[in-house]
């Protein structure tokens, strides 16, 4: 039988599932009556099993994914620079879209009458900062981008809560109360459900800008807490008059204050 002569080829193709159905059936029929070819195929199969077993490699290290995300971010960003003019069409992924879109509905025009006169940074921040404008940078390159475009010494606040990640940032085109500002967008995990928290960072915030709100002392630092229609804004001004306003429509005042107290910015000294 001619199959015997070609058994090396046919056996290999059979084991690699490269034979046509007809060829396969022909070989299988032949194997029932040819012990030598059967032995050949079984030897090939054993070798293949040995090789496949030996070649199993470890899974990719976890860090490779983070590293990849960073370089893809950078690639996107390089692409984005080339298309800066089209940023107005930019959309955020997933929950960020929702929150960015939901924020203005929550904040714009909800100031209580007693607060209307006070043009504090917090309220300005809420009014100007939470419109659903596109982020200009996303991912791990956010920090460097902010230092380049906004403030050379800025370090985006980090939350010690696990599952908190910086999504991205954009500049506030008209600033707040005439001061330069940037909006940082975070995804924060709470009890398994992620929500978006915004931090507005504003330069050169003084006492005149901070007229309202309750004062809360945490870790020897002063936080101001304001509420608009039950939605909290927590403001912190650091030693170099850089103001940080934390907004998270999903959270209660206490939850937000607690979360802010868990940033490096306000955390234990």
């Amino acid at each position: 039988m001619s199959l015997c002569k070609s058994i090396a080829t046919v056996s290999m193709a059979y084991l690699d599932d490269e034979l046509a159905a007809e060829e396969r059936h022909e070989l299988e029929a032949h194997l029932t009556e040819c012990a030598s070819c059967r032995a050949h195929l079984e030897a090939d199969r054993a070798d293949q099993d040995l090789i496949r077993h030996a070649l199993v490699a470890p899974p990719a290290p976890e860090l490779i994914r983070a590293r990849l995300a960073r370089s893809l971010d950078a690639a996107d960003q390089a692409h984005g620079r080339a298309q800066r003019r089209r940023w107005s069409q930019y959309l955020l992924p997933g929950s960020a879209v929702l929150a960015a879109a939901a924020a203005p509905a929550v904040f714009v025009g909800v100031q209580a009458p007693s607060e209307r006169a006070a043009s504090t940074v917090a309220h300005e921040a809420v009014r100007h900062g939470t419109r659903s404008l596109p982020l200009e940078v996303q991912g791990a390159s956010t920090g460097p981008w902010l230092r380049q475009h906004f403030e050379p010494s800025i370090e985006p606040p980090r939350f010690s809560e696990p599952g908190s990640t910086l999504i991205g940032a954009r500049l506030l085109p008209r600033g707040i109360n005439g001061k330069d500002g940037a909006l940082l967008s975070y995804q924060v995990e709470r009890a398994g459900s992620p929500f978006v928290l915004s931090v507005l960072v504003v330069r050169d915030v003084g006492d005149a800008d901070l007229q309202d709100g309750r004062i809360v002392r945490i870790n020897n630092r002063t936080l101001r807490v304001t509420e608009s229609s039950g939605r909290p804004v927590v403001t912190y001004v650091d030693g170099s008059r850089m103001g940080y306003m934390f907004l998270a429509p999903e959270l209660s005042v206490n939850e937000l204050v607690w979360l802010v107290s868990r940033t490096e910015l306000v955390g234990p000294q």
Partner: protein, 217 residues
């Protein structure tokens, strides 16, 4: 920019799910975890740049493996060669200096690296090292990644027949080397040498001969 977002989403959905497989191939190709990581990183970044040229109905994993393989051949082989030249030069330098301090200092510099290097030079790697590059690549693509002969032929830019013969010979060598190590370690008994004259591997010839026979009968 919506297009960019869409592109990234699609890339993550279709390409990044293969990271483990690509890393496995890279690990066996480079035979070094650090190089494997760099290779995967470079190849995926390249894939992202050329994502538009990926035909959506084709096998994404095969397309990515092609990029990994090509990147490996183009970049890493060259890098390795230049590193070998450099190593040789350094060795020569050390020898002419007659000082062992150099080598000792180098070893001290990266104990982790040395450890990593050592841990991967296991039996499998030593067996793989013995294979010619083309054989190794064919075996990795077939037995590790499960690609078809045709997909491997496209990646290696050679006829299917060539893939089969590389695969055949690569497997024979690799299986023999693995068994040798197993024998050395006492896992298996040495086998009597089998007749290696299995003839040539040629599915086309087999099919042609068969068609000719059937045509003449």
């Amino acid at each position: 920019m919506l297009a960019v977002r869409h592109k990234r989403d699609e890339f993550e959905r279709q390409a990044l799910v293969h990271v483990d497989a690509l890393y496995g191939a890279a690990y066996r190709l480079t035979r070094n975890p650090r190089d494997a990581e760099d290779l995967v990183q470079d190849a995926l970044l390249r894939a992202y740049k050329f994502w538009d040229s990926f035909q959506q109905d084709s096998n994404c994993k095969a397309w990515l493996l092609r990029i990994v393989t090509n990147t490996f051949i183009n970049e890493y082989q060259r890098k390795k060669r230049s590193r070998e030249v450099l190593d040789a030069a350094t060795a020569e330098q050390d020898a002419t200096d007659g000082v062992l301090v150099h080598a000792a200092a180098r070893d001290k510099q990266s104990p982790e690296a040395a450890l990593v290097e050592r841990s991967i030079s296991d039996d499998v790697q030593r067996a793989l090292d013995k294979l010619p590059d083309d054989f190794r690549t064919a075996v990795i693509l077939c037995d590790m990644q499960g690609l078809s002969y045709k997909e491997i032929a496209e990646i290696m830019e050679c006829p299917v027949g060539t893939v089969m013969s590389r695969l055949f010979r690569g497997r024979k060598l690799l299986a023999a080397a693995l068994k040798d190590f197993a024998v050395a370690e006492g896992y298996v008994k040495p086998a009597t040498p089998e007749s290696s004259g299995a003839g040539t591997i040629d599915l086309e010839a087999y099919r042609a001969a068969k068609a000719a026979r059937e045509g003449s009968s």
